[in-house]
């Protein structure tokens, strides 16, 4: 599978001639500061950008070009072949429906697809509700929710951030998508919870051979889990390579500067490297932005 992407959106070029290829089972991290276009990239792949936007170029997913696909084609792919997880799990869940009901929706789509009718007659014909409930409990157990039987009957507000994100992962992965797009999935969580969620994502994805595009501002998280890292700046991909290459031998001056900004990479005392203010606004800019970046170092 390849995703080739090239676009300019509206009058503002939020993404500028971006090309990216994802192979099955791969874990890619897209890193950059706020406003650099990493979320736009995620939303563009899913075609979830606001109607005022415009995509130019191609996004190939299998045989389909997502950039020009019809709504119907997209609807068939979203959530089933392409999974997604967003930053605020509690905003992504419907606040007035129980977890079980929301999970059931995801699972029933899968049933419809696979023609589960045949399985209906196996053994003692457990009722559709029972089977549904069992499957929900199982998938909640897979994402290591402590008390899955009770969680099914809870409302989102009764869950902690970490639990809600686990539910989101369970929902996204219940469809066995071939690619999972996670936009800052752990930025709202504490470090100890973040560690557990990232571990979980990596394990479950490996088990199902799902490719993951992880959008994050945290270089640490990217270094820890990704196979390949893509660094974005002002709507462009400025560096791409294996995690080792990017972190140990960064070639682009911006990547170098970004890595030096991190307090844990320098010894205490002394100044932290900073990046000049001018480079910190990722507003639509003239083409000479690159020369500015060069001038800084």
């Amino acid at each position: 599978m390849s995703v080739f992407y090239e676009s300019s959106i509206g009058k503002i070029r939020a993404l500028d001639d971006v090309s990216l290829t994802v192979t099955p089972g791969e874990f890619i991290a897209v890193v950059g500061e706020s406003g650099c276009g990493k979320s736009t990239l995620a939303l563009a792949i899913l075609r979830l950008l606001p109607p005022t936007s415009e995509i130019k170029g191609h996004i190939r997913f299998g045989d389909i070009d997502l950039a020009s696909a019809t709504i119907r084609e997209l609807a068939a792919l979203r959530g089933t072949k392409i999974g997604m997880i967003f930053q605020e799990p509690l905003d992504s869940l419907n606040p007035i429906e129980k977890i079980g009901t929301q999970m059931a929706e995801a699972i029933q789509i899968k049933w419809r697809e696979k023609n589960w009718v045949e399985k209906k007659w196996i053994e003692k014909k457990p009722s559709r509700e029972d089977r549904l409930r069992n499957e929900i409990v199982e998938s909640l157990r897979d994402v290591r929710i402590a008390d899955p039987e009770k969680t099914v009957d809870r409302f989102p507000f009764q869950l902690s951030g970490g639990m809600a994100q686990r539910v989101m992962i369970a929902m996204a992965l219940s469809q066995k998508p071939s690619i999972l797009i996670a936009d800052e999935p752990t930025s709202a969580l504490d470090v100890t919870t973040q560690a557990q969620i990232i571990q979980l994502m990596k394990e479950v994805a490996q088990a199902t051979d799902t490719a993951i595009i992880l959008i994050t501002h945290d270089l640490g998280v990217a270094a820890q889990v990704a196979d390949r890292v893509v660094v974005m700046y002002a709507g462009e991909i400025i560096e791409e390579g294996t995690t080792k290459q990017v972190f140990q031998n960064p070639l682009h001056p911006y990547t170098k500067a970004l890595l030096r900004c991190y307090p844990n990479t320098v010894k205490s005392a002394g100044h932290l490297e900073t990046i000049d203010d001018r480079f910190l606004t990722c507003e639509p800019r003239s083409k000479d932005a690159n020369s500015l970046v060069d001038a800084r170092t």
Partner: protein, 337 residues
């Protein structure tokens, strides 16, 4: 604690501080419930040092800071500022005006959007009975020391970037020439590069004005970078307190170790994140846990931990509240040999 520190003057002493908060519970039945996000906290801050307070969200670090600043009235305990009692357990007695200032997490909500930068920075000076000329001088000098020139005086917060806003709120905090700055996650709303910039400004200001910092953060790398001593906070109590180098190189509380383990290092050769042991999530304040409240997530937990609250006591050069701190210390000493 090193001798150099203990001979230094203590600027702030907090004893057995606790803070109750009454929250309203919505819904058909509703009602009020009192929770205690900060319980029995004692520490002191030495002149010119930075005390880092590290903890996860909901651990009570912000509540503690607000109680110390007397924004909320603490429930019990006492606070001494420069040997003067400012809170005696019942009443707020002393005045902190101008001596203690605070910098908040989100600069876009802590600056009044209808005020110009000039007015924002002048605000804390109103109570100090200064002449107009002195006020103007203070405004320009404090803005200059955070790297903002005169052209910013007549701007509104909406015209500033996130980093500039946070610099204005730092300028506001130092304008009355305080002794002590309470910083509540001053950089967590900022990008890495802007964060580095703000941290640099804070470090320079500390030297320039001989400021004392209490720096609250959830990021242990930042804590290690800025702080001389670090207090690790979990569920309303200090779990470990000590010099920042040894707290992170030889942690004695199991929670401190988990925090270090879970921190994602930007180094692909040191993959720690995928082998973290800790399970579960921080406890809810509405369902208090008996004994040591870390026990459900602790790998060393025994029956004793469920019943007895461990005392904060000196082990090696740290203060630790864990029943097994001594044996953990012995183990790490052994490993280091």
């Amino acid at each position: 604690m090193s001798n150099a520190l203990s001979t230094r003057k203590q600027i702030l002493i907090v004893n057995n501080l606790a803070q109750n908060v009454t929250v309203e519970i919505g819904g058909a039945i509703g009602g009020k419930k009192t929770i205690t996000p900060v319980r029995d906290v004692s520490f002191s801050v030495y002149e010119g040092e930075t005390l880092g307070i590290v903890g996860e969200s909901g651990s009570g670090k912000t509540t503690l800071l607000r109680a110390v600043a007397l924004i909320t009235k603490p429930t019990t305990g006492s606070i001494l500022l420069e040997d003067q009692k400012v809170f005696d357990g019942k009443r707020i007695i002393g005045k902190m005006t101008g001596k203690v200032q605070m910098v908040f997490q989100d600069p876009s909500t802590s600056l009044n959007p209808t005020m110009k930068v000039r007015t924002i920075v002048a605000d804390p000076l109103r109570l100090l009975h200064l002449s107009k000329q002195e006020i103007n001088e203070r405004i320009t000098t404090s803005l200059r020391s955070v790297g903002l020139e005169k052209e910013f005086l007549d701007k509104y917060p909406s015209q500033l970037s996130g980093g500039q806003k946070q610099r204005v709120s730092i300028a506001r905090a130092i304008a009355p020439r305080p002794k002590l700055l309470l910083l509540d996650e001053p950089t967590s709303a900022l990008d890495a590069a802007v964060q580095a910039q703000v941290l640099n400004i804070l470090m320079t200001l500390q030297k320039e004005f001989n400021l004392t910092y209490v720096f609250v953060t959830h990021n242990i790398a930042i804590a290690k970078y800025v702080a001389d001593r670090i207090a690790v906070f979990y569920d309303g109590r200090i779990r470990e307190l000590g010099p920042s180098e040894t707290v992170f190189s030889r942690p004695l509380h199991p929670y401190t170790s988990s925090l270090i383990e879970a921190f994602p290092l930007p180094d692909p050769d040191q993959k720690n994140l995928l082998s973290v042991h800790i399970t579960g999530e921080p406890p809810s304040l509405f369902e208090p846990i008996t004994g040591c409240s870390f026990h459900p997530r602790c790998q060393y937990a025994e029956s004793r931990c469920k019943n007895e609250i461990p005392l904060l006591r000196a082990v090696n050069d740290h203060m630790v509240s864990c029943h097994f701190a001594e044996s953990i210390a012995e183990k790490t000493n052994h490993q280091n040999k």
